[in-house]
Each structure stands twice: as structure tokens, then as C-alpha cells.
């Protein structure tokens, strides 16, 4: 049985549905990341599970029990707020101990647990420090320790690493994943950062306008975005309308090969930048003639922006050597292995 189940949960703010008939399951010990742009209803989802926001329709079940009418403080879930919301008038130890005090844990046990958790999040002996004196990363860790302390059956994270700088973020993602695995914590996190979601999650749920757009493992979602929206949200912009017949498709970019087994008819096609191959001379090789309009250095590769004679711009991923200059004229051919047929809108 799944630990958390949402059945057709709908939340409306006036006319707008922040959540529109959302179904979601989180199994025990699983880490699920909800990914979506701001305004897609991610935070509302967490608030509904925590009981801070009431659903207009649908059910929230924790360990199989309907949570309708159960107030927040009896749901035994943990929530780490986007901006931490540490209690300013308490020191670090007082913040971490808060949930234990609410559960009337004994003093000795509380102290032991606080010390243990501060150790766990890498802040040993910080119990007496004032929260105002902590750096962003340290506040983050204290908020995590505070949420973990009462051993919630479900830990929810709202943009857990949103405000941290990149280096710290990458390190913390690894640490969190290792920690959750070790503790066997069930986690539901929301984020707008795909890198964070893919690094943290066992399963990713992409949301759009209050609806679930796609669910799958990070690899599945990355390899086979279900819709143009998901593809674009993941940063893929080579999307074009196509008419499939036989083993290839007709597009404004010319004929593009498609994966075997694709049904005929109208589709949207995504060509990942790695599947956009440059050839030196367009006319001789029979490729699509393009002009290079931009180059962006991405560390281990270069993204080249190409303008074909007709149709939308193309992005191509090239090796550092041999990438063309802005203004060069090149030809483009497509690799069937990097072409994805998008089903949804």
C-alpha cells in the first residue's frame, strides 16, 4: 500500500484551478519530485497534503486513511518551507526540538535526538547558536533537522535548495539523497529546477497548470518527454510539426527520420540537440542548409544556434573542436536515435 495517495484532488482559487483532479501515489521509502514552472500548483499540492489548504474535491490518504477533517498538527507529516521559516526567537536547538516538544518527548530523549540530528546535517554542537547568525546553507540544514526530528512518516520539501548557490546545491542534493536512502525516509519534494529533481528523485512528476503532465523515472522523462510542454520545460526547443509516413516524417526542416514503429499521421517531433548533426556543405551532402546565428559555451560542449531557410530555429550540440563560427553556413542532418515523437500537446 502506498504511503500517500491523492485521488482526484482539486483546489480552486476563484475561477482558477491550482490543482485540477490530481492523482498521485508515493510508496514507502520512495522519493518523489514534483517538477513544474512556478504557478503550476506544486506548493498547493504540499499544502493540501499537510492540511494547510483544503481540497475542493478529491481525497488525500496517508497510510490508507482519509485525511479529511484531520488538522495539520495531527497528520504527522514534515514540511520544509521554501524559505525555511525557522523560529527567530529560538536558537538552533530550540528549533530542532520544537516538534519533539509538541509530542511531549522527554527532556533527555529530546536532547539526545537534537544532538543526533545536528550531527546528521553536519552542524554538530550548533544547538546554542542564534538562527539569525546562520548562513543560508546552515539555515537549510537546521530546517531539515527540524523537519526530520519528530520522525514524520512523510517528509515534504518545498523548493528545498532553491535559494542556495550552485556549488552548495549540488553538494546538498547528493547529501540529501544519501541521507534519505540511509534513513528510509519517504519524501515528496517540489521544485522548478530539473537538475535538482533528476538528481534527488526516484520518480519525477511533471506538472502543468494544476495537472500532471508526465510521471516516470528521471531517465524516462528525460529520454521520452511525453509532450511538447514537458520537452520545452526540460529545455528542448527543437520541436516541429510533422507528418509521419513510413520510416520518416515530413517537416519544414525537410525529411526527418523517426524511431521504428511510429504510427503514421500528424505528430509533433522533438530532435534533441545531440541529434542535430552538422555537415560541412549543405548542397553536396543533401542536408538542410542553415546559417549559424549564435554560439553558447556549455563547459564540455558548445550549443550552436542555427537558422534554416524556413521553420523554427535549431539548436545543435557540438564538440568543442570544430564548432562553426557565427555567420558560417552549414548543413544539418538528423539522427533518428535522438528524435522523439511527442504524443500530447
Amino acid at each position: 500500500m502506498s504511503l500517500l495517495r491523492l485521488d482526484g484532488v482539486t483546489v480552486r482559487f476563484g475561477e482558477r484551478a491550482a490543482l485540477d483532479a490530481v492523482d498521485l501515489e508515493v510508496a514507502e521509502h520512495e522519493t518523489v519530485c514534483v517538477l513544474g514552472p512556478s504557478g503550476s500548483g506544486k506548493s498547493t499540492l504540499l499544502r493540501v497534503v499537510a492540511g494547510l489548504q483544503r481540497a475542493d474535491a478529491g481525497r488525500v490518504l496517508l497510510s490508507g486513511n482519509d485525511q479529511d477533517g484531520v488538522p495539520t498538527h495531527r497528520r504527522e507529516v514534515g514540511l520544509m518551507f521554501q524559505d525555511h521559516q525557522l523560529f527567530p526567537q529560538r536558537d538552533v536547538g530550540g528549533n530542532v526540538a520544537f516538534g519533539l516538544r509538541m509530542r511531549k518527548t522527554g527532556r533527555a530523549e529530546t536532547e539526545r535526538r537534537v544532538a543526533e540530528l545536528l550531527e546528521l546535517v553536519g552542524l554538530p554542537g550548533a544547538g546554542r547558536r542564534a538562527v539569525a547568525a546562520l548562513s543560508g546553507g546552515e539555515q537549510q540544514r537546521v530546517a531539515l533537522a527540524r523537519a526530520l526530528a519528530p520522525r514524520p512518516r512523510l517528509l515534504m520539501l518545498d523548493e528545498p535548495l532553491g535559494q542556495l548557490d550552485r556549488g552548495l546545491r549540488e553538494r546538498l542534493v547528493a547529501e540529501l539523497r544519501e541521507l534519505f536512502g540511509r534513513l528510509g525516509t519517504t519524501v515528496l519534494a517540489v521544485t522548478h529546477d530539473q537538475g535538482e529533481a533528476f538528481a534527488l528523485a526516484d520518480r519525477v512528476v511533471v506538472m502543468r497548470d494544476g495537472r500532471v503532465a508526465q510521471t516516470g523515472t528521471p531517465l524516462e522523462v528525460w529520454q521520452r518527454p511525453a509532450s511538447e510542454f514537458v520537452a520545452r520545460f526540460l529545455g528542448f526547443d527543437n520541436v516541429v510539426a510533422a507528418r509521419v509516413s513510413g520510416g520518416s516524417a515530413d517537416t519544414v526542416w525537410g525529411r526527418v527520420p523517426v524511431p521504428a514503429g511510429t504510427s503514421g499521421g500528424e505528430h509533433r517531433l522533438l530532435v534533441r540537440p545531440a541529434g542535430v548533426l552538422l555537415v560541412p556543405d549543405a548542397r553536396e551532402e543533401g542536408g538542410l542548409p542553415c546559417t549559424v546565428t549564435g554560439r553558447t559555451f556549455r563547459g564540455d560542449h558548445v550549443v550552436v544556434l542555427l537558422r534554416p531557410a524556413d521553420g523554427p530555429q535549431l539548436e545543435a550540440a557540438c564538440g568543442l573542436r570544430g564548432a562553426p563560427e557565427v555567420g558560417d553556413r552549414v548543413g544539418v542532418v538528423f539522427d533518428a536515435g535522438e528524435v522523439v515523437v511527442l504524443d500530447g500537446p
Partner: protein
């Protein structure tokens, strides 16, 4: 200053009306409001409306004709005109003298600044009767100016105007200066870099940001001076009377209740309009301003011009605020046989005042303290509940309640006091013989201060902190105790101090309902001033000095607690 953060509110997820938590919340809010509503209903609306009804209704018939008769009476017209123009003049004079002070307190650092800020606030919480006597000692017969140059101002309007400036200097300095100190100086610097001159930068950037605060402060000063009673009663002589003084005379001396009722209505309407405008400017003031920590915007004055400005402001404070207080103290020691404690000794015996009192005037100290403590308790309870209920912004109804809480500040205290006498003397509320009557009346003026001090702080508490506590297992009540209470503890102490000080100084209502054998300090001072003879006068000065010291002590304690100026007063 109001330090609300509207942007936090805007981000907050809207709550849908009609859903169960929203209903529960409405129920809780209503529960919290029951006591404040009952309090204002029974001890404010009921007495005031009873008085008005008694004046306008005779033998079961309405006499609206009285309205026209009173309002067209030239004598009343004179009072109305004087009330209005002296309030306008007092406000203009206060602004002219206090705005430079607001700037100096906001932007300059100088030794003794904290102490001086406490000192200029002393007059605001001083009983109006003491303010009146202080100016009498300065400008009146045998006063300092009289002795030095033979100048007497106590029969001119200047005495009233100066007393009003003295009284309200702190309102402008604290309201405007509080905001000014938190305006980011870099805004003005940005304007300078973009090519604005020093004055242009001030006029285009700082002034618009300050304007709502200036407007709010002006309105408060206008309100306080419009309803001025004690100071005008003492300094106005037979020539000058405000509406409030006229109401007192009509009620207590001429026993002309219908006229008093009409005047009460007139004042009530005027005050309601003023409060409406005030609420509007306050809401405008909450518009998004970029505020910074006040501690970082002040620096030592530089250059001759800035030192001159500081010197000028200090001189004004010395002449306007310190001199009257000092003269008051000096006069209290200046007995018939040279300086000494003659007047203070006389306070200790009932016979010393020639039959003015049946008890020793000194006992008024004990009475005042006991009454003020009880009034503070009531004001904290009622005001605290009201503030808790008003914390979450809501519809027009709640906002109306917000304004309702301010009404007692501007309603004729005389009417309230007299209303108490005629309404609370029969079962089921026969309180006439009870000591609690005085604290109840005093609490009425304390509640607005409590609400105004607590509300901005409570509203600034991020709702998500409460949510964080709930997720960690705290019930709503527990979350309030664990999150709200520690954060507002300091504001609560400040509110208590203000409530205590204004209760101590309340005069208009207390003068009606305090029993002859247990007068409060302001009532005793007023009685002494009303009697001829140097001994009575000296005793009034001595008692005023004591009252001033008690108020100042309460205020200095406040200034220690109050490191963040978050309240509105």
C-alpha cells in the same frame, strides 16, 4: 510607524470563504471579538447614546429642532469656529516646529539621543491638566515670563497653541521621524547620481515617501487638539472654549443636557470623519516602501548647516518642552518662605487645602496608581483580544471594527463620564458605587493604544511561521503561544506602558465619576487649581510634579524596552 508588510500578504494563498477551515476561523475571530464588542457596547456606545437620547428626546418625542437651535446659536457658532481654527493653527505650528526635529532624530547621531527622545515623549502622556498647569506656571500670573519681562500670555490664545505644540511634538517626531529613519538614504543618493540637486532629490524622492506619514501625524494632532479639554479648561479662561470644554460646561455647570447632546453629536461626526481620513492615509502609508534598519541611517552631523539645524532643534526642545517642565517643578518648591517642601507637606493633610478635600491630596497618588493598574489590565485584555481578532485582514466589517476602536480617543470624554453616571447606576449594571467605574472609563482610552501598538507587530508575524509550527504538531492555540506570544511580548509591554500612562492622565471622564473621597491625581490637581490662594496653587504644582515623575518613569521604562519602534505612537 506601521511596519506592515503588504507584500507578504499578497503572496499568501487566498482563503476561500465557505470552506470549513474558513468557517472555523470566522468562528474563532468572532469568539475573540465578543468581549471587546460587549465592552464597547456596554461602556461606550450605551452611555454615549443614552446621553444623546436624553438630550434629544423628551416625553417620548424627538426634538430635532434642538439641533437647529443649538447650531444657529451665535455663542455655539463661536465655539465651533474657535475649536476648528485653533486645532488647525495648533497642527500647523506643531508641524512647523516638529518636522525639523523629526529629521534630526531620524538622520543625526548625537550623544543623549535616546534620552532626549524619551524626554520629548513625556508631554504626550502627561495629563492635560498638568500640561495646563505647566504653561500656567510659565506664562501665567506670576509666571516666569511675568517675573522676567512682565509678559502674560495666559489670557491669549498663544498659551493654548503653545501647550498644544508641547503636547503633540512627540506625535510628529515619532510618526514622521520613525518612517524617515527607515527610508533608505540610497534612494536619495540614486536621485542625486541621476542629476537631481540636494533639494530636488529631497522633494522628489523623500517627501513623497514621507507625505502619508506627515498626513497621518497631522490628522492625529488635529484630532487631539480638536478634542482638547484639560489644557483649554485651564488656559482658556472665560474667553476660549473648545467643543469639549463647552460640553463640560453645558453638562456640569449649566445642566443644559440638550445642548450638550447636540454638541456631542457634532463632535462625534467631526471625529468620525477625521478617523475615516486617518484610516485612509494609514492604508496609503502601508504602500510598498523600501525600509531599512533605522540604526544604519543616522550619522553624526557634518558641516555648519547641519550643526546649526541640530542646535536649532535642541533649542526649540529646550524652550518648548524642557522649560515648562522645569518651571512646573520649580514652582512646586517655591513656597511662601523660600524654596522648600511646604507644598508637598501640605499635600499630606486633608485640612491643608482649606476644605477642598475630605482626604489628604497625597492619597490621590495611591488612588491613581491603583485605578491605572486596573485600567491597564482591562485595556490589555480587551485590546489584546481585539488585536488578535484583527490580525488576519478581512472584509469591510472587520475594518469597521478597527476604526470603531479608535472612536473613544476622539469622543467627548466628558460625555462618556456623564453617560457612565446616568446609565450605570441601575440594575443590572449598578456600578455607580463601585471602584471599577473609573478604571473602566480609563480603559476606554487605553484600548486604542493597545490595539495600535499590537496590531502592526501581530500582522508582521509571517503566517507561515504558524504553519511551520502546525506541521510540527502544534495545535492552533499552542502555535499562538509558541510563535505569536514570544514575538509580540515586547509590543505587549509597550502597549501596557502606554495604557498605564494614558489611564493615569485621563481627566475628562474621571472628573465626573471619581468619588469625592478618592480623587485621582489629575482630578486633585484640577480641584486645587480651581481654588484661590497660593497654597492651593503650590500644591497643584507639587501634585503635577509627582504625576509628571510617575508618567516619565513609566515612559523611560518603555524607551528601554522599545528598541524597535513598531507601534504607531
Amino acid at each position: 510607524m506601521v511596519l506592515d508588510r503588504p507584500e507578504v500578504d499578497a503572496l499568501r494563498t487566498p482563503r476561500r470563504p465557505g470552506s470549513r477551515p474558513a468557517l472555523r476561523q470566522t468562528a474563532v475571530r468572532f469568539g475573540l471579538m465578543v468581549l471587546p464588542l460587549a465592552f464597547f457596547g456596554v461602556f461606550f456606545a450605551y452611555p454615549v447614546s443614552a446621553i444623546v437620547l436624553r438630550g434629544l428626546k423628551d416625553d417620548g418625542r424627538w426634538h430635532f429642532g434642538r439641533l437647529g437651535e443649538v447650531l444657529t446659536d451665535p455663542a455655539i457658532g463661536h465655539v465651533l469656529w474657535f475649536t476648528t481654527w485653533q486645532a488647525a493653527a495648533s497642527t500647523a505650528l506643531t508641524l512647523a516646529l516638529a518636522l525639523p526635529g523629526a529629521y534630526v532624530f531620524a538622520r543625526f547621531d548625537f550623544p543623549g539621543k535616546r534620552l532626549l527622545r524619551a524626554v520629548v515623549t513625556v508631554p504626550f502622556v502627561l495629563p492635560t491638566v498638568v500640561v495646563g498647569s505647566a504653561f500656567l506656571a510659565l506664562l501665567g500670573r506670576g509666571g516666569l515670563l511675568d517675573e522676567l519681562w512682565g509678559v502674560r500670555l495666559d489670557t491669549t490664545v498663544w498659551a493654548i497653541l503653545l501647550a498644544h505644540v508641547f503636547f503633540n511634538y512627540a506625535v510628529v517626531v515619532r510618526t514622521v521621524g520613525g518612517l524617515w529613519a527607515q527610508l533608505d538614504p540610497r534612494q536619495e543618493e540614486a536621485a542625486r547620481v541621476l542629476g537631481a540637486g540636494r533639494f530636488a532629490a529631497w522633494r522628489r524622492v523623500t517627501l513623497p515617501a514621507l507625505a502619508p506619514a506627515v498626513a497621518a501625524a497631522s490628522l492625529m494632532v488635529f484630532l487631539f487638539t480638536f478634542t482638547s479639554f484639560g489644557a483649554v479648561q485651564i488656559l482658556g479662561g472665560p474667553r476660549y472654549a473648545t467643543l469639549e470644554v463647552e460640553i463640560y460646561q453645558q453638562t456640569a455647570q449649566l445642566l443644559d443636557l440638550p445642548t450638550a447632546a447636540v454638541l456631542t453629536l457634532v463632535q462625534f461626526v467631526a471625529v468620525a470623519v477625521l478617523l475615516g481620513v486617518h484610516a485612509w492615509t494609514v492604508r496609503r502609508r502601508e504602500s510598498a516602501l523600501k525600509l531599512v534598519d533605522a540604526a544604519h541611517t543616522a550619522r553624526r552631523p557634518r558641516g555648519a548647516a547641519q550643526w546649526a539645524l541640530l542646535g536649532g532643534v535642541l533649542t526649540v526642545i529646550a524652550l518648548l518642552v524642557l522649560v515648562p517642565l522645569v518651571v512646573l517643578v520649580l514652582r512646586s518648591f517655591d513656597g511662601p518662605d523660600g524654596y522648600g517642601l511646604t507644598f508637598y507637606r501640605a499635600l499630606a493633610s486633608a485640612g491643608g487645602s482649606g476644605g477642598t478635600f475630605t482626604v489628604a491630596p497625597l492619597e490621590a497618588i495611591g488612588n491613581s496608581l491603583a485605578y491605572a493598574l486596573a485600567a491597564t489590565g482591562i485595556a490589555l485584555l480587551v485590546g489584546g483580544l481585539a488585536a488578535a481578532a484583527l490580525t488576519r485582514r478581512a472584509g469591510r466589517l472587520v475594518r469597521g471594527f478597527d476604526a470603531l476602536l479608535m472612536l473613544p480617543l476622539g469622543t467627548s470624554a466628558v460625555t462618556v463620564g456623564f453617560g457612565f453616571l446616568i446609565t450605570l447606576d441601575e440594575p443590572p449594571l449598578d456600578l455607580r458605587a463601585s471602584w471599577i467605574l473609573v478604571p473602566l472609563a480609563q480603559a476606554l482610552v487605553g484600548v486604542p493604544f493597545v490595539v495600535r501598538t499590537m496590531l502592526p507587530v501581530l500582522r508582521a508575524v509571517d503566517d507561515r511561521l504558524r504553519e511551520a509550527a502546525a506541521v510540527l504538531g502544534a495545535s492552533p492555540l499552542r502555535a499562538w503561544r509558541e510563535v505569536d506570544l514570544p514575538l509580540v511580548g515586547r509590543a505587549l509591554a509597550v502597549a501596557a506602558g502606554f495604557a498605564f500612562a494614558v489611564s493615569l492622565g485621563e481627566f475628562g471622564a474621571t472628573v465626573f465619576i471619581a468619588r469625592p473621597d478618592s480623587p485621582t491625581l489629575p482630578v486633585a490637581v484640577s480641584r486645587l487649581l480651581g481654588r484661590a490662594g497660593e497654597l492651593n496653587y503650590g500644591q497643584a504644582m507639587a501634585l503635577s510634579t509627582i504625576l509628571m515623575l510617575v508618567c516619565a518613569a513609566a515612559l523611560l521604562v518603555l524607551e528601554r524596552i522599545r528598541t524597535d519602534r513598531s507601534g504607531e505612537f
